[in-house]
């Protein structure tokens, strides 16, 4: 028996693995079949009854999501009969929906709204009083639940049962009183809660972090990679480009890396990107200076030093290209390789894993950094709670490439204090912490959202970042700065 079946959908031939459903085949063929409860990352519920299609030879319409595709099957998704069924399926979904789109944050990315525009657009026949249910429930630190908007697709219940295995949600009561909810006074408490807002096809679950902040149609998305840990989930980063303000991240499907999901920690990876959270210009002994002056100061400091008098402290939060650029610039200037240290937070348990996506290595590019160092034949010294190895080399200049994501460094303050005690300590990074203020020189850098380059995840998958225009136009990436330092040192020499 062949393990592939070929069927036709609207006379278009498509071949799928045996065991696939009509929905799988339609997805592959690029035929859109309207659906609410089906989600490719969850089990099949078959309850919304929206994805009805005509299968030749079957008297009744079938749901595409649970009907196995078979050899020679002829499927129709566009006939009048099918369209009429879709229209009615939508009508049944809408009769008790509050239709409060003007105050709903889902508006603009609501599947109910989208389908209404696509297959609906009719006067509702329902003239009777709608069923009323609880609204604006606080169901956790991250989410608000409006059970009246809910269409009971059960995606969220299945997510809780199947992905996080937390089973915090249930559907209570029955018939048209059926209502989604948690157990009274219990909250959704796990690191994947925002996915519930994502998979909710309507505005029942909305993210507290995003509610009433911005209409989705003002947002522009950038396809990039989450810097929150070594998994490297594929994400869309949303920015209101007129305001230069970042609002949120959402997962982007990648079967090899993160599937359909991302964690709540990752969702916070926009907060440090906006101007208010960042160092805007370089500071020399606390005084604001131009970038040119700052780089001149670095060039002057390293000029004429032997390579072993310069210490380079790395964190694994920069791109491969940045590491390579910094190293080659410094090598040229110093005519040798500086002492390289890798700073890990002393509390880090790099091998920890939550079984879903989130990893104990809170750096996005540990693999990539180590690869670059290897190419440069550098054996770095680890700094993890104990900084004596750095002090022992008595460097004249200490360059620290600080972590962009400070949350991964719970002992950041302590470590920065130690680094800042070094002679001529230079800090590349945007930290506004008190400890950072003690550095001789501080230079702001581009964030992951503003640079292109490569992160290599825990599993060796190399992924490209995509650059948006920087929030501060004067701020550059660390390798760009060092290229400049190289030139300045050369000129001076």
């Amino acid at each position: 028996m062949s393990n592939q079946v070929t069927l036709s959908i609207n006379n278009q031939s498509v071949t799928v693995p045996a065991g696939s459903t009509i929905m799988d085949a339609a997805q592959k063929a690029g035929v859109s079949v309207p659906h609410f409860c089906w989600h490719p990352g969850l089990s099949i519920a078959g309850v919304c009854r929206f994805c009805m299609v005509k299968v030749e030879g079957m008297p009744k319409l079938q749901i595409a999501c649970n009907t196995p595709a078979s050899e020679g099957m002829k499927v129709d998704t566009v006939s009048d009969e099918v369209k009429e069924t879709h229209k009615w399926a939508l009508e049944f979904h809408l009769i008790n929906h509050p239709l409060d789109c003007p105050i709903c944050d889902q508006a603009g990315e609501c599947e109910l709204q989208n389908y209404y525009m696509k297959v609906g657009k009719y006067q509702s026949q329902m003239e009777d009083q709608k069923v009323l249910k609880p609204k604006a429930l606080d169901v956790g630190d991250t989410l608000v639940l409006d059970t009246e908007r809910c269409i009971l697709c059960s995606r969220c219940v299945r997510f809780e049962d199947e992905v996080t295995k937390t089973s915090t949600l249930g559907i209570f009561n029955r018939g048209d009183q059926a209502t989604i909810g948690t157990y009274p006074d219990r909250k959704i408490k796990h690191n994947y809660s925002y996915n519930l807002a994502d998979i909710c096809p309507v505005g029942a679950f909305t993210a507290k972090d995003f509610r009433f902040k911005c209409r989705v149609w003002f947002l522009k998305e950038t396809k990039t990679v989450c810097p929150g840990c070594s998994t490297g989930c594929n994400v869309n980063l949303f920015q209101n480009s007129n305001q230069r303000e970042y609002y949120r991240l959402k997962p982007r499907h990648n079967a090899d890396v993160n599937g359909h999901w991302m964690c709540d920690t990752g969702r916070t990876m926009y907060e440090h990107l906006n101007a208010s959270a960042r160092l805007a210009s370089p500071l020399l002994s606390g005084q604001s200076i131009s970038s040119a002056a700052a780089l001149q100061a670095v060039a002057d400091a390293v000029k004429g030093l032997s390579a072993d008098k310069v210490a380079l402290v790395l964190t694994a939060q920069y791109t491969n290209e940045e590491y390579a650029g910094v190293l080659s610039s410094l090598k040229t200037v110093l005519k040798g390789t500086p002492k390289v240290f890798v700073w890990r937070d002393e509390s880090e348990k790099a091998d920890d894993f939550d079984g879903i996506l989130f990893r104990g290595d809170r750096n996005p590019n540990t693999r990539g950094m180590m690869d670059v160092l290897k190419e440069h034949a550098i054996q770095p010294t680890m700094l993890k709670g104990d900084f004596s190895a750095l002090a022992g080399t008595s460097p004249e200049v200490t360059v620290v490439m600080g972590p962009e994501i400070e949350a991964g460094y719970p002992n950041l303050q302590k470590a920065l204090s130690r680094f800042s005690e070094m002679k001529k300590a230079v800090y590349f990074g945007n930290s506004l912490t008190d400890a950072a203020k003690k550095f001789w020189l501080r230079v702001p850098v581009k964030t992951f959202a503003e640079k292109s380059g490569t992160f290599v995840n825990f599993n060796g998958v190399a992924q490209k970042l995509k650059a948006n225009p920087p929030v501060f136009t004067n701020v550059k990436a660390v390798d760009e700065y060092f290229a400049e330092v190289g030139k300045l040192a050369h000129t001076a020499g």
């Binding site: 099949i44 309850v47 919304c48 009744k60 008790n96 009971l152 018939g175 048209d176």
Partner: protein
């Protein structure tokens, strides 16, 4: 509580006694009486005679027995769907009896629950199940006690256990008690309930015969279906087929309700004339009232007008040809002075209350149908509403996981279609009321 009289109720003695042989016999529920009337002889014949599973299935197939719960699916064929070979399999008896108008399965337990237990043992042997349940609705306190007592007796007598009748056949049986949900009478809703969940029907495929209770092959059979099996095994498929019609073999328990003179549970051969049943066996309507309509197979069966009743026979094919169904054999009699709009509202209330809420068209549609029919009763209707009810009901059909939605649509389509004039009277009331104002 008073034990109900046998529903013999003056009916002339006849030759139809298959399930009701113990009617009127003192102490009929005891194991002794059951054995005296041939009880457990069929099981003995199978186990000691070393009949094969196929032989048993073939006899049931040959008898033409169809599921008596309502769907009428051929029983032997259903058993044949269970995969052969090793592995846990389950047999579950549907004793949820929730279809309004239906009270026949409880009558079997009132007569003698051993009929059911022996039938279950035979079915379990045929499909290779070593464990079975009787799922009873929670309100059936007496019936639960009767079944529990009979199971206890069967264990004591060696009909249940690790070594049934010393033949090496192993079978264990337990009861499971529902808690108030009509939908648990749907076989996969029942399985969900038995799994300790909400009684929501399961998506098919997979079908329960392949993946049912706890994902294992499972057969769900109605009480009446199983209770008749010992008789068929004892007397042979041909004897059973002597009753009934070609496509509707055997006898059936008909339960009549509504204002009739002699209500009760009657065993009759399939194909029996409906009019004769109502007027001769059941004595007609109380007070000599005229008949307006009959719901022939439980609340979900489309309604028949008095004119249709005239020539109707009670079998699968005749009801189907009239656009209705035999269902559970529950004949509900509606007299001339009852408004069909009120009947509709009452039925829609039931379906709205009992929808499990899983599939959107049913969850939303049943509530909508109730609101519309209630609106008409309250004088808020307008011409065309009866068509809208029928239309919405039509759009609920064939679009959900189970057939509950179709069941609700049965009366919601047939009543507006067949009794449209009665709706018009409500619309008129409205306009005259407005006129006065």
């Amino acid at each position: 509580m008073p034990v109900m009289n046998s529903a013999y109720n003056g009916r002339q003695p006849n030759e139809f006694k298959v399930l009701t042989e113990l009617e009127g016999i003192p102490n009929s529920r005891s194991l002794e009486v059951y054995k005296k009337h041939g009880g457990y002889a069929a099981l003995e014949k199978i186990l000691k005679g070393k009949m094969s599973q196929e032989e048993v299935i073939n006899i049931v197939k040959a008898s033409g027995l169809r599921g008596r719960g309502g769907a009428g699916f051929p029983t032997g064929m259903k058993w044949g769907f269970v995969p052969k070979g090793e592995g846990e399999k389950y047999l579950i008896t549907n004793f949820d009896e929730g279809e309004p108008g239906t009270y026949k399965d409880r009558y079997i337990a009132e007569l003698n629950a051993h009929m059911l237990i022996e039938g279950k043992l035979i079915a379990a042997y045929a499909i290779g199940a070593s464990k079975s349940y009787i799922y009873l609705r929670g309100e059936f306190y007496d019936e639960i006690a009767w079944c529990e007592q009979a199971i206890k007796e069967a264990y004591a007598a060696g009909y249940l256990g690790d070594n049934v009748m010393g033949t090496g056949f192993k079978h264990h049986m337990d009861v499971y008690i529902g808690a108030g949900a009509y939908i648990c009478g749907e076989e996969t809703g029942l399985i969900s309930s038995l799994e300790g969940k909400k009684g929501q029907p399961k998506l098919k495929p997979p079908f329960p015969a392949v993946k049912g209770y706890l994902g294992k092959p499972t057969i769900v059979n109605n009480v009446e279906t199983l209770a008749v099996v010992p008789w068929i095994i004892r007397n042979g498929a041909e004897a059973y087929k002597k009753f009934g019609t070609e496509k509707s073999a055997g006898t059936k328990l008909f339960n009549i309700s509504g204002p009739v003179v002699r209500p009760g549970c009657y065993e009759l051969p399939l194909g029996y004339p409906l009019k004769r049943f109502i007027y001769e066996d059941c004595g007609g309507l109380i007070g000599g009232k005229k008949l307006k309509a009959v719901i022939p197979g439980g609340a979900s069966a489309p309604v028949l007008t008095a004119a249709e009743v005239e020539t109707m026979t009670m079998d699968y094919e005749a009801f189907a040809a009239a656009g209705s169904m035999l269902g559970s054999g529950a004949v509900i009699v509606i007299p001339e002075d009852v408004s069909m709009v009120e009947v509709l509202e009452n039925l829609m209330h039931f379906f709205k209350d009992e929808s499990c809420g899983q599939c959107t068209p049913c969850r939303e549609g049943t509530g909508w149908l109730l609101k519309m029919s209630r609106g008409i009763l309250q004088g808020e209707g307008q011409p065309g509403d009866e068509k809208k009810i029928a239309e919405v009901a039509g759009k609920m059909m064939g679009r959900t996981i189970c057939t509950f939605s179709d069941a609700a649509a049965g009366p919601a389509r047939s009543i507006p279609q067949k009794f449209a004039h009665e709706f018009l009277e409500y619309y008129k009331k409205k306009s005259s009321a407005h006129g006065q104002g």
